[in-house]
């Protein structure tokens, strides 16, 4: 189990991947930027477990906060509301400062 790559407060982008088969990354978050709230757990990779493998070593699971305007740029209102998603580390990459 390697130490988590992203500290709390890091601005990350969810990789816009579309792998075949089972995964736990909702489509609405792919390609979107959010802020790491923290690592909430380490868990076996569900993408491997779905096919009978053990998914080890466990992956860091992050809570990532996405502002509503980032997820739904065409919607109006609800400016302060946000969505927090549990995401596995391989799906995340550091976002450049100031990018959306």
């Amino acid at each position: 189990m390697s130490p988590p790559r992203f500290p709390a407060g890091a601005r990350v982008r969810v990789r816009a991947l579309h792998p075949p088969g089972h995964c736990r990354t909702p489509f609405y978050a792919r390609g979107r930027c959010g802020v790491v709230l923290g690592v909430i757990d380490h868990q076996p990779d569900p993408e491997a477990r779905a096919y009978g493998r053990d998914g080890l070593p466990p992956l860091a699971v992050y809570r990532v906060r996405f502002e509503r305007a980032e997820l739904w740029p065409n919607d109006e209102g609800g400016g302060r509301d946000a969505v927090v998603v549990d995401l596995f580390e391989p799906w995340l990459e550091l976002a450049a400062e100031g990018t959306r």
Binding site: R24, P26, Y28, D41, D81, A82, V83, D86, F88
Partner: protein
């Protein structure tokens, strides 16, 4: 319910007459295989179903009521719901459950957009709407509109955090204790913590008789 019996009800079909969906057939097939191959015994299967069916939102309400009256317990609950529930003799299962604390100006609501993950071993089976595509797709996009349909209208300045439980973690909302409940016992407090309060689509309110005028979401101002 006024007028409920003013109309004729359609005959309610027997369970066996309803269409068998793909998911129902798949569930039956997998269960048959698990039994046929001896991976689980019929007794184990029944015992597990009975355990899940025996759980109800009352267990979650009990945990919340304790957190309202015991500051140290509240801290332990916010760190680890499973361990805190065990202190009250509640076995919340092996999947980690985390508490989301409502505070003045912050309201939490839980969804699983991918399927219907829910802390079943603490709260019992989820309501049907929690599993519906409408709730799952809409609450992340327009939480205010969805909560309003549940009768929960929050002030503009209250931030709504929608938690999508996409990993092997479950979430329990720790609602705010409403004013007017000072001096109440734990059982009395637990009685106003409904299932929806634990999901975040409602907030605890005093029974109408004990309320002066229309209720306002506690901690929401």
């Amino acid at each position: 319910m006024r007028g409920h019996h003013d109309h004729a009800h359609p005959h309610r079909p027997d369970l066996e007459d309803l269409p068998r969906t793909y998911a129902m057939l798949l569930t039956d097939a997998v269960a048959s295989l698990l039994l046929a191959k001896g991976i689980v015994t019929p007794d184990e299967l029944r015992a597990t179903l009975e355990t899940i069916d025996s759980r109800s939102p009352a267990d979650g309400a009990k945990v919340v009521a304790r957190a309202w009256v015991d500051r140290d317990f509240r801290a332990r609950l916010l760190a680890d719901v499973n361990a805190a529930a065990a202190e009250l003799g509640i076995d919340a299962g092996g999947i980690p459950i985390r508490a989301l604390e409502n505070r003045p100006g912050l309201h939490n609501v839980v969804v699983c957009t991918l399927c219907s993950c829910y802390p079943r071993l603490l709260l019992g089976p989820p309501p049907d709407w929690y599993k519906s595509r409408a709730y799952r797709s809409r609450v992340v996009r327009e939480p205010r509109a969805v909560l309003a349909e549940f009768g929960l209208v929050l002030p503009e300045e209250t931030e709504i955090l929608v938690h999508d439980s996409t990993a092997e973690l479950r979430y329990l909302v720790l609602p705010g204790r409403p004013p007017g409940t000072e001096g109440w016992g734990e059982a009395e407090l637990a009685a106003i913590v409904t299932r929806d309060c634990l999901i975040g689509t409602a907030v605890p309110r005093l029974p109408t008789a004990q309320r002066n005028g229309p209720g306002v979401a506690p901690g929401a101002a």
